[in-house]
């Protein structure tokens, strides 16, 4: 009897593991997006001379490092870049595995082009299953293997779980693949930076667009995933709503682990018939949310809300799952849409596409873009550090915080830059776009938004 009970429990456990592996949330990494900023519209001003000088003058203090000499030791021969991403478990297949592919492809490209001269770039990406409890072990393993720099760690809690450690040890934690505003804290965490557009900037950009179309104010329904990711958006939405004439008539949430369609939530919003919906679903939840909105519109003739959806949903992979339900939605990005034939003909993009095709990575040319872009910015920082005279962990961090570059996949007009304490987010310009489900392409709405650049 006891034997049978344990077998039954074991089978139940296996079943649960399988369910956990299939379900789950997707992190905040966008496949087609990135960026920065915290200034409200109106506060943003062009960097003055002091700001410009700040980046050059800013230098990381290595006196408090556990081993100051190691932080300033020259890196020769090979530089090792490490990262932790979810490569298995519930969220890996759909959202994050392509980021790794894109990241590794760019490093290969950079080595072939000898962008760092005689220095070879190695990359090692550990699997943390998007579980912040596993990230310290992954980072520990990479440090034991001689990693010099970390870049592109996915997930806010995952980055937080190693931020104290990496800052104490003085290892650059570059370009965290999340849009948390917490990455702009150079005074307390000088060794940590992000790469995505901060979520609050994205919300303000949507609010500005809505205000432009509804100058008298408008009712808005809000739908967010109930996680740290959604919480950051929601906090901003609630705090700026009055300033932009947004009257929040309904706030609905869904658990990150809930794979069921948000029927009740969307019906609740539909009952209020708001002309605008601001939505922050996650991963596969983007597609189910859009499908439910389409159902609600069919059930409520005459109700045609404008849907503004987080840029993390704006990948061809996710919107492809949604099909026609994604038609007409508004979102944002600061990277190009490589599926657009006109964009694909641009020399830099064509080179990207050709290289990816040569590596047999055609299937991830859109979803791998975030990884490629992150690796490209990382290498650009390394090049700048090398140009400063000596490649050390400290010089890499100094280069990162006094940095300006245009990536192969960044939109025309978008510059990735940081400058000391005055500009701590690498990407702050973004473009509002509208998705056409028929052509599967994005159309620009208005001009590139650069108001939030520090």
């Amino acid at each position: 009897m006891k034997r049978k009970t344990y077998r039954a429990i074991a089978l139940a456990v296996v079943g649960s593991l399988a369910i956990a592996a299939c379900g789950g949330d997707d992190g905040e990494s966008s496949s087609d997006t990135s960026s920065e900023a915290t200034n409200a519209p109106g506060d943003t001003s062009a960097p003055d001379d002091t700001d410009a000088a700040d980046g050059e003058a800013w230098a990381v203090n290595t006196d408090d490092c556990v081993d100051p000499a190691a932080a300033n030791a020259p890196i020769e021969g090979t530089i090792k870049i490490g990262s932790a991403m979810p490569l298995s478990g519930g969220v890996a297949a759909a959202a994050f595995a392509p980021v790794k592919g894109g990241f590794e492809a760019y490093v290969k490209y950079a080595n072939e082009k000898k962008l760092l001269g005689d220095i070879t770039i190695e990359v090692a990406i550990e699997d943390d299953q998007y579980n912040k409890d596993l990230t310290p072990a992954a980072v520990d393993k990479l440090l034991d293997a001689g990693t010099h720099v970390f870049s592109g760690i996915i997930g806010t809690p995952n980055n937080l779980a190693v931020r104290d450690l990496l800052n104490e040890e003085c290892y650059p934690q570059l370009l965290a693949l999340t849009g948390s505003i917490g990455w702009g804290d150079a005074e307390n965490y000088p060794w940590t930076t992000g790469v995505l557009i901060p979520y609050d900037v994205e919300v303000k950009a949507y609010a500005t667009a809505i205000q432009r179309d509804f100058p008298e104010g408008v009712d808005v329904g809000v739908f967010v995933v109930n996680s740290e990711f959604g919480q950051e958006y929601l906090t901003t939405i609630e705090s700026i709503a009055a300033d932009y004439g947004l009257n929040i008539v309904d706030e609905q949430t869904i658990e990150a682990t809930d794979s069921a369609p948000p029927t009740a939530q969307v019906n609740s919003i539909a009952a209020k018939q708001p002309p605008v919906i601001l939505a922050v679903p996650l991963g596969a939840g983007c597609a189910t949310f859009l499908a439910e909105v389409a159902n609600a519109k069919a059930a409520n003739p005459g109700w045609e809300p404008r849907v503004y959806i987080t840029a993390t949903c704006a990948s061809s992979l996710i919107l492809g799952l949604a099909g026609d339900a994604a038609n007409g939605l508004y979102t944002s990005n600061n990277l190009v849409d490589v599926l657009d034939p006109e964009i694909a003909a641009l020399p830099a993009v064509a080179e990207y596409l050709a290289f990816m095709e040569g590596q047999g990575l055609t299937d991830i040319i859109t979803t791998g873009g975030a990884g490629w872009h992150t690796a490209e910015m990382t290498v650009a920082i390394l090049v700048k550090a090398l140009e400063s005279g000596e490649l050390t962990r400290a010089s890499i961090m100094n280069a990162a915080r006094s940095f300006e570059a245009v990536g192969m996949l960044t939109r025309p007009g978008v510059t990735m830059k940081m400058s000391g304490l005055s500009d701590q987010y690498i990407a702050q310009s973004l473009q509002i776009v509208q998705y056409d489900a028929t052509t599967k392409l994005f159309t620009d709405i208005g001009d590139l938004i650069t108001d939030y650049e520090s």
């Binding site: 490569l87 809690p157 104290d164 450690l165 740290e228």
Partner: protein, 373 residues
């Protein structure tokens, strides 16, 4: 087959060898292994503590609980809140968290007294599902940090311990975390052992084997079940405290705070051997090793691993763990400790010491069927 009498010189020698090997390993790991490996062992210790606490309720008392992730979370959140918001020294949270978890555990056990089996499992399942939702609740966000959780709740400066001296940096933190987790593990083991070997422990086993008979024999079912649930919850919270102090971060979506955590604890306990003191230890070490070793399998692997798993677009860790568990359950339904005991029993039998003036003491002859390893 070799037979050794309990408490004989050979038996003591065997025990000494066992203790020596364990002591050697315990000292060798933090002094000789790479920092990342030390960290992994510390992580294993945390999971072992959680699985040991579950073992008390499920393995020894037969009460199915899928809610232990909530007690883990109570420990983790208590530590994070006291350290980050109230500036407590992390060490003191080890005293507070178990008290809170004990009270909560007892409260949860009260309504669970009238039900058992799958219904009890469902009640505890609700607890596991409710906990993350509760800490995410907006009205509690001032305390728990809501969906964002709490970060930077760890030792700013490591305390100086007599033998370890001043520890600094990543290596120092790993060694400190190892010894801290080891001490808590030993305490947890001793508490579990003390309970299991006591009169109270025998009443737990009686409840597991036949609740009605236990009641007839005078076991107070209510008190016993509530107490063991509370003690188990308190021990599990210690694992949560350790986990938070290692990463400094606790969120409602942390793996061990959610239902998945309960499943992992269950998995470790069953694979190692439910109802045995060493089961969770063996299970925890195997789980962490297997989880870490298989996570790298996939398209980039070479050799036999590449041949077997090269087809996978992503790491097949979850698949391997699931299949491994099924195989282990069919090969060793009483867990790995049960399997080891059976195998050892084929070559070595420890003959129990006869009790008092029993007729068995005259010739010291005990039937093989009563022997134990």
């Amino acid at each position: 087959m070799l037979k050794i009498k309990e408490a004989s010189a050979q038996h003591w020698a065997l025990r000494l060898v066992g203790v020596g090997v364990i002591a050697f390993l315990v000292l060798w790991i933090p002094t000789q292994m790479a920092t990342s490996r030390i960290g992994q062992v510390s992580d294993a210790f945390v999971l072992i503590i959680a699985a040991m606490s579950l073992n008390l309720v499920l393995g020894f008392t037969g009460q199915i609980s899928i809610g232990h992730s909530a007690f883990f979370g109570i420990g983790g959140y208590t530590a994070a809140i006291l350290v980050k918001d109230y500036g407590w020294s992390p060490g003191y949270t080890f005293y507070v968290a178990p008290v809170i978890a004990f009270v909560v555990g007892c409260l949860i056990a009260l309504p669970a007294l009238r039900i058992k089996g799958v219904y009890l499992a469902l009640v505890t399942l609700a607890v596991a599902v409710l906990f993350p939702t509760l800490v995410k609740w907006k009205k509690l966000a001032w305390l728990t940090g809501g969906a964002k959780g709490i970060d930077s709740a760890r030792y700013d400066e490591l305390p100086v311990w007599p033998i370890l001296g001043e520890l600094k940096g990543r290596d120092g933190r790993a060694v400190f975390a190892y010894w801290l987790a080891f001490i808590v593990l030993v305490i947890t083991y001793l508490v579990c052992r003390g309970i299991v070997k006591s009169r109270f422990g025998r009443s737990l086993v009686a409840i597991r084997d036949n609740e009605t008979a236990a009641a007839v024999m005078g076991v107070n079912l209510t008190t016993t079940k509530v107490l063991v649930f509370g003690i188990s919850a308190a021990l599990c919270s210690l694992a949560g405290v350790l986990s938070t102090l290692r990463t400094g971060v606790v969120t409602p979506e942390g793996q061990y705070v959610t239902l998945l955590g309960s499943i992992v604890f269950l998995l470790i306990m069953i694979v190692g051997g439910a109802g045995t003191l060493w089961g969770p230890i063996v299970g925890g070490l195997i789980y962490v090793w297997l989880d870490s070793a298989t996570r790298g399998f996939g398209t980039n692997s070479d050799g036999i691993i590449g041949f077997l798993f090269g087809w996978a677009d992503q790491s097949p860790a979850t698949l391997i763990l699931g299949v491994g568990l099924v195989i282990i359950m069919f090969a060793a339904p009483y867990g790995l400790v049960g399997l080891i005991k059976r195998l050892v029993a084929k070559v070595l039998v420890i003959v129990p010491k006869p009790l008092g003036d029993s007729h068995l003491a005259i010739g010291n002859t005990v039937p093989d069927t009563d022997s134990r390893v």
